[in-house]
Amino acid sequence: MIDEALVVESGISAGDPWLTVEAGAIRDALTGLKHDGYRLMCFMTCVDHLADSSKEWPARFELVYQLRNLESREEIRVRTFVDGETPRIDSVQDIFPPANWDEREVYDMFGVVFNDHPDLSRILMPDDWVGHPLRRDYPVGGDPVEFSAEHETWQTAPEKA
């Protein structure tokens, strides 16, 4: 039964139905939806809303779970918001096994800790990496590109070319 009591907000975005639940209720919400037939988890990820002025966000990190019902071909997106220097939320990898590596990736890239995850370790970055790259306050990195617009010396001066 879709957990009416747990739904904080719902809506449709570009044709995709979504609903928001409290972070503590995520396991109940996903279990309820799985009983309703939404048995495939397409993906789960996190969005960092630091300095995002498009709307009033309840918290900085938004966790997104996309579920699909293979019989009725419907999809639903479940959102929840967590905050803090080390945000924490319950792991759902026993309800939906594909979430196992997705949660490791969210931990690696955003620093969200999943309670009761069997092996919460970095998956994409080296194990001794410091920092969580996909957070908005982590710099893109790389080398600065040297443009030659400010060069004073030419290899062959234009008038001699």
Partner: protein
């Protein structure tokens, strides 16, 4: 060494390995073998830490991240139209299909739909890409199981497909052909001739590949009953694509949740009830045949008309207009300096690539750069099924099993 029951952890080169200290069937310890990341048969930089009891596999731990490119972070630093170039490169065997997922997502957020001609061209490019991706799979799987000539034959056909890519977009591999708003350029008459000739020649080539492998006793004994993944396991583990269809589940996004006009084509969904590596091989061969059928139908259906939508706020005006219209100059300037802004919201679009469900989840905060672009990668999820498929097989079967999963590490690591 008597480490039964205790664990030993070491961190080398940034990866931590914990040895379990368990014992094997004859009282000896389990042997931990490192398979990769530099290995000829892992289809890219995949590292597998395999616990062996004699020759039998007891546990596999895949370690990924050796090709992590920061694509999702890179997309946040690029404008919407610049991002198309980067989307080519995560699943590098099917660039137009990646472009399609991103383009459909951005178009949904902008509230526009591509023109009919563009939709048919998108379908043709997607199916050509599906063929070229399956050809790479067939060639490399063949050579790993000992059939060296498969590589030569498959890549010969792939050269034809890459020549067609080059004709229509200028690039062999990373075409960046499908963009939000339409496609990069219209089909040239020479391209239409090349595709027509290809549709006539390809079924004969697929017959050639089948004559080499399908009844070949060595191929059959190396792939039959190897890598079993039951339908329930596949569904629970979230596998998609030939991994799911090879276990008998007829789920193909092109039929079940069609996009870009796929509902107008007549084709079958390839499934096999065998649940093993041989079944997946049969599924992919059938998919190749169906792809040729779809391209033939699409060529007949190709309508006339423009390939790009007529929205100056999203796509630049034709260059001739810049000489006469001030408004065209302003649009051109705005598009190439700041780029267009996409209304705030989020959307998820999934398309069927050669490996399964490749999707693009786009979050926009209303500015000219995305807030978050997440790629749902078929290979990332399919790789989690590897352990279930390989348990209690011999280490020599590992090659066939990794081959059948058809993972592209660029997609896994992004």
């Amino acid at each position: 060494m008597s480490t039964t029951g205790s664990s030993v952890s070491t961190t080398t080169q940034g990866v931590t390995i914990t040895k379990s200290g368990e014992s094997g069937a004859f009282g000896g310890e389990l042997l931990t073998v490192n398979f990769g990341p530099h290995h000829p048969s892992t289809h890219g930089v995949l590292r597998l830490i395999v616990d062996l009891d004699g020759e039998q596999i007891r546990r596999i731990k895949p370690v990924i991240g050796y090709l992590h490119t920061g694509i999702e972070k890179q997309m946040e630093a690029l404008r919407w139209q610049q991002g198309v170039v980067v989307t080519d490169r995560h699943d590098y065997l099917s660039p137009p299909i990646n472009n399609l997922a991103y383009a459909l997502a951005v178009e949904r957020l902008m509230g526009v739909e591509a023109t009919p001609r563009a939709q048919v061209l998108r379908v043709i490019m997607s199916e050509l890409t599906r063929l070229s991706s399956h050809l790479v799979w067939l060639g490399t799987s063949g050579i790993e199981l000992g059939a060296m000539s498969m590589l030569m034959y498959c890549f010969r056909e792939r050269e034809t497909i890459l020549n067609m890519n080059e004709e229509i977009s200028g690039y062999r591999m990373h075409t960046s052909y499908i963009r939000p708003g339409g496609v990069m350029a219209d089909a040239t008459p020479r391209w239409l001739e090349m595709v027509d000739q290809f549709v006539r020649d390809m079924p004969g080539h697929i017959d050639e590949y089948e004559s080499l492998l399908t009844m070949n006793p060595i191929f059959r004994s190396r792939t039959m009953e190897i890598g079993r993944l039951s339908a329930d396991d596949a569904k629970v583990l979230g596998a998609t694509g030939p991994m799911l269809r090879g276990s008998g589940v007829a789920w193909d996004l092109r039929k079940s949740m069609p996009y870009s006009g796929y509902e107008n084509y007549d084709f079958e969904v390839a499934t096999s009830d065998r649940c093993d590596c041989y079944g997946r091989y049969l599924v992919r061969i059938k998919e190749m045949r169906e792809a040729v059928k779809i391209i033939g139908q699409a060529l007949d259906k190709l309508p006339d008309g423009p390939v790009n939508i007529d929205d100056r706020k999203m796509l630049p005006p034709p260059r001739e207009e810049l000489e006469t219209s001030m408004e065209a100059v302003i649009h051109h300037f705005k598009l190439f300096t700041e780029g267009y802004s996409v209304p705030a919201g989020d959307v998820y679009v999934a398309v069927e690539s050669g490996r399964g469900e490749n999707g693009c989840y786009v979050v926009s905060d209303g500015t000219h750069k995305p807030r978050r672009v997440k790629f749902r990668s078929a290979s990332f999820v399919n790789l989690q099924a590897l352990e279930r498929m390989a348990l209690n097989h011999m280490i020599a079967d590992m090659v066939a099993i990794i081959g059948t999963a058809d993972t592209v590490l660029g997609d896994v690591d992004r």
